[in-house]
Symmetry: C2
Subunit: 380 residues, 2 copies
């Protein structure tokens, strides 16, 4: 074929060189960190991590940082269900937080949690940084999710530091998943703090604990704290600009065919199953229907895309948003960061255009990130 064989690292270097000499950005330090588990009651791994961190506070303790713990949805945790009335992680838009007519258990919980760690519409919310611990049934390894209006350099820094620190230390690869969203509308927990990330580990089934997923979660949470502590040293976090390869969630979703009652009428095709972050090309099979017919990707987001949340159990539920999601790949410039009391509350950096999808696809196909992570962890 004529595909370019540029590796992802080469692409990132080229972008970094283009941004070299970027002047540092100034941010206020991150002194209060909220650590949240059990936003979804059947994502048991985050609940267990929270329990372990509370019993062993030395795990997340870092100089100059106050950690506050929150079990977000205790009723759903007790019932080992994603939610009781409605998805808690869809309640944090400004519109819903300020809508007094909403009275579901989860909309009330969201308001209480926002009162504790927000206000969301403040430059001085109680929590400077919020970490929300999730799991997925999809093979997404350790995915650091951050969503911001433009690029939030603090969240990007933390995510890329987690990836750097865990390289060779966990049997799962670390991915960064970014979405560029209008801030008021973001429905997810980290959006109520000044900055934040969701840690998403998988594959792991709902309602149980796997030792591998627990290890991934704990290592990722510890690395988040290390990264925040480094941000807070007040010095520039890098001597020159970096460029960080990420997957950018388009929020375009592809639902599984379903009947009027919501029951699935097709199964993820075996070639897409476990294929998170692998190239998906127009014409590739995505589902097999009840009659054996194969349903192909229709190219709706481009000829080559990268799927995430492939066969996530929650996305069979309309309350949580049906279907798997399609991503582009982008290389985000990260300027050096200085923290200072008179720094900005938040910054919004421009989002560059997506990378050439076929070049990224070729690089991924040349080196499987799971095999690389397992090999590196085995020799470490």
């Amino acid at each position: 074929g004529t595909r370019r064989r540029t590796g992802l690292a080469d692409m990132a270097s080229a972008t970094a060189a283009a941004g070299a000499g970027a002047s540092p950005v100034r941010l206020r330090p991150f002194k209060r960190v909220a650590v949240v588990g059990g936003t979804h009651g059947n994502e048991t791994t985050g609940v267990y991590a929270l329990r372990r961190f509370q019993k062993h506070p030395e795990l997340l303790a870092r100089d100059g940082i106050d950690v506050e713990y929150c079990l977000a949805n205790p009723k759903a945790v007790r019932e080992v269900r994603r939610f009781v009335d409605d998805d808690l992680n869809r309640q944090y838009s400004m519109a819903r937080l300020r809508d007094d007519s909403l009275e579901s258990y989860e909309s009330v919980r969201a308001k209480l949690i926002e009162q504790r760690f927000g206000p969301k519409d403040s430059d001085r919310p109680h929590a400077d940084f919020l970490v929300d611990m999730h799991t997925t049934t999809s093979r997404m390894g350790i995915t650091m999710i951050f969503e911001s209006q433009g690029v939030d350099p603090a969240a990007l820094y933390v995510a890329k530091e987690v990836r750097r620190m865990l390289a060779g230390r966990t049997s799962a690869p670390v991915f960064i998943l970014f979405a560029d969203l209008e801030r008021d509308g973001i429905p997810h927990t980290p959006s109520i703090a000044r900055s934040g990330v969701a840690i998403e580990v998988g594959p792991v089934a709902q309602g149980l604990l796997r030792s591998d997923a627990c290890e991934w979660m704990e290592q990722a949470a510890l690395a988040v704290m290390d990264a925040i502590a480094r941000l807070n040293t007040g010095e520039a976090t890098a001597s020159e600009a970096e460029a960080v390869p990420v997957f950018q969630n388009s929020r375009v979703k592809v639902p599984c065919p379903a009947g009027e009652d919501g029951s699935p009428l097709a199964v993820f095709h075996e070639r897409l199953q476990d294929g998170d972050y692998r190239p998906l090309r127009k014409g590739d099979p995505i589902f097999r229907g009840l009659d054996g017919e194969v349903i192909e990707y229709d190219g709706r987001l481009g000829d080559t895309v990268f799927p995430v949340f492939v066969n996530e159990a929650a996305y069979y539920l309309p309350e949580s948003g049906l279907g798997f999601a399609l991503c582009h790949h982008a290389t985000l410039p990260l300027p050096p960061i200085v923290t200072a009391e008179d720094g900005a509350a938040r910054l919004s950096l421009p989002v560059p255009p997506a990378d050439d999808a076929e070049a990224v696809a070729a690089a991924i196909e040349a080196s499987d990130p799971w095999e690389a992570a397992e090999a590196a962890a085995a020799t470490a």
Copy 2:
């Protein structure tokens, strides 16, 4: 070591030779087969299989057999939960079926299903054979479960035929899991018919469909129908006695340490995770606690045993029975079977003593059944 290197097949041959010349047993034919899915509402694979079989009745159609389909717990299926009030698959003991004071949704469903396919305490229940389709989060491949008071030769025949027919055809190995239980007390669905099996496929998370698990379920269900059709030919099903290696569920369970509210205080140790049907020896690690401490197998059922339902999500719930289960291994003699209208409704053959556990363990450690199944399926 001094472990014997007798293979499981050798052990079975020796037992068969001992029983050679056994005279055939006579059973009434199996003309009405009940195919049940959705006994647990979040075990989506069986629900999907049921839908596919109903849309394509040719899949299970066999000469002289009437197939009846049953979606057992429609409310739990709609809510994608294991159960609404109580575990449906714990309701089928005679005591509970005849207790008019029980009014939970599932106890009522059980009575309706027993009215349709039973009576359980009859020699002429409506269903001659019942197949209940389940999934597990444990790595149990395709497990054919049958429970009977003594050995039910019809169920044993069907289970071993499924194993024979699927050899080299599925990427998962087939295991037979037997329990010797007082018949009236058996709480599970197949016990309401004259004979029956549960098909248990895994690993698969609750609330989703995986193509591999769907394929395993469909292939197993088709093979069950083929086996029943062969039984019904009315001729002896074997020219000589066979001996069938099975795992025998002791019903001794080992629960995960938990707090007063039921929340887990430990994680399955990585050496036990995915270790279903692998030898577990006294002193082997089974859990790692919240403080990092390792909990070992205490030898409660013997120095060498075989675990099943390792990290099954449902067994974090007290309603379903906490903990993983310990098995012995046994080699069950299977006499030739003749079917005739004047044959017996059921037979109860004696259960032989368990096999030498260390000999079985050595055979399993010498040849991994998953690798063997995948290799055979790849070359087929």
